[in-house]
Subunit: 321 residues, 2 copies
Amino acid sequence: MTDNSEFSVIDRLFRPLAGLTSEARGLRDDVAVLPSDNTHDLVVTTDAMVEGVHFLSTDPLDKVAQKLLRVNLSDLAAKGAVPYGYQLLTAWPHGLPFEAKQTFAKGLKADQARFNVALFGGDTVSTPGPLMVSVTLFGRVAKGQTVARAGAKAGDRVLVSGPIGQGYLGLKVLQGEYPELAAEFKAELVDTYQLPQPRLDMADVVRANAHASMDISDGLVADTGHIAQASRVDIDIDLNRVPTSRAARAAMALGASVLDLISGGDDYQILCTASGERAKALCEAGFVDIGECFPAKSQGQVIVLSDGKPVEIENTGWVHS
Amino acid sequence: MTDNSEFSVIDRLFRPLAGLTSEARGLRDDVAVLPSDNTHDLVVTTDAMVEGVHFLSTDPLDKVAQKLLRVNLSDLAAKGAVPYGYQLLTAWPHGLPFEAKQTFAKGLKADQARFNVALFGGDTVSTPGPLMVSVTLFGRVAKGQTVARAGAKAGDRVLVSGPIGQGYLGLKVLQGEYPELAAEFKAELVDTYQLPQPRLDMADVVRANAHASMDISDGLVADTGHIAQASRVDIDIDLNRVPTSRAARAAMALGASVLDLISGGDDYQILCTASGERAKALCEAGFVDIGECFPAKSQGQVIVLSDGKPVEIENTGWVHS
């Protein structure tokens, strides 16, 4: 869930600080990978959320806590990892009542039980600014089996684990758009925005079959671009095959653009690539085939096709602002 | 560097979330301890800094970055750990110029080389609030050798690794107090506030000899209390033996109170306990003997003695506000 305008900061300032350590993977993945024991690696991911940027001031704090854990769990799922435990950082606005912090802890408690993780430690501070919370989540994977961003090969199929644009539309509904949408659709979309479902149910099949994998947080097109660049392949996405929900199609009938759905972000589905029997195994597990990898002409780029013709994408990813 | 007013949040809300996992140590230590490989444990600490709370808006950002690494490194030193690598979280205020971020990265680069750590990963976001930065730092210790907060025993000597109150006085000098202080003393105190020296030089001797250990961030009295409570011992500190620098004594001659020095925080010296030959070994390495542990009458408390008489401490620790 990185702010797009920050990619140059990462490229120019932080990548040199990671150097060539195998743990950092050149900051070109969503996780760091450390040894855990003789048979497992420790997978580490950090994601922060700022009030007014990554969640709304009106979002209930138990759901904010759950979303915080879930966006981190989503990274683990895409890497084929099993959740383990986490460090928590909370920066409470001065004067935030104890009851609000209690609500936040209630959300953590519910999702710790649901996803079998425990709090290991962290820090708690106060701030004159907005609420900011961050989790550094640990997961475990059999040694050497962490699925990278950089593994896509020419000829691979491109696969997603579920409907695209749910989170984006949920945010729009909360902001008052599509007032005519049926109440059940509104509830479904808002629920996906506030409480995304990390696809841990897919972690095993991804680890067993995917060449490259990541979770979709910045938007389908932007994150496909991240795999293309990391793997040095070009990728075609067939817009006609991108899965959407009935709720999303109802919103499109009311004016939502499919191009916004594929660049909207906050999906928390898994995007991966695989070929042959392995791609088939992923589809049998519920993945949808939406495109193909080709030898890169340059650094790796994404072309979105609609009815076989390239579509111009103005906004390739979600810029937090 | 936990906000004191947050201890009840940790006790009441977060401790139940840590449960009985061995990694979390009941949130009663400064670090989490995970397996790293068959011979080592991974020691994990998280510390955040907020502009206007933990550093001044006028502090240069390279020094802020260095202090951020160092307050985390200080935790590792007190635990007897060797630094390994870190996750970095930066929340940049909207519109912060690239040059400011570059200065911040320059500070990280300098201290990475000095302390032999690498950046492993993290997250970078933007915020409508003040600058906030956080590090989750990893260190390594031979399996089972991490020195706990909870190991102090009745009869142990209480030892500190160097002068107390330097950081507190440095902050006061930056805020314009003690204008008559000699320039060299001012520089020394400000330097310790802005660029504390994590006592990694003491990590080996602490790991080999200490029963309990932690770094002093909340103030000598408050952190002695943390060891007393975690270990269930009472502790007497002899104020006359608390080491101070020439600069601090000059500030005291100008009105600074020794009681403020021992409650001021931001020391980043190591506070530990040991008995017999082991206490002697620590003193030979440079530690100063300032007190003694006794069987706890209740939950563990600290008494500060001056010329053998108890001194009343109003403010036992630094409350960030």
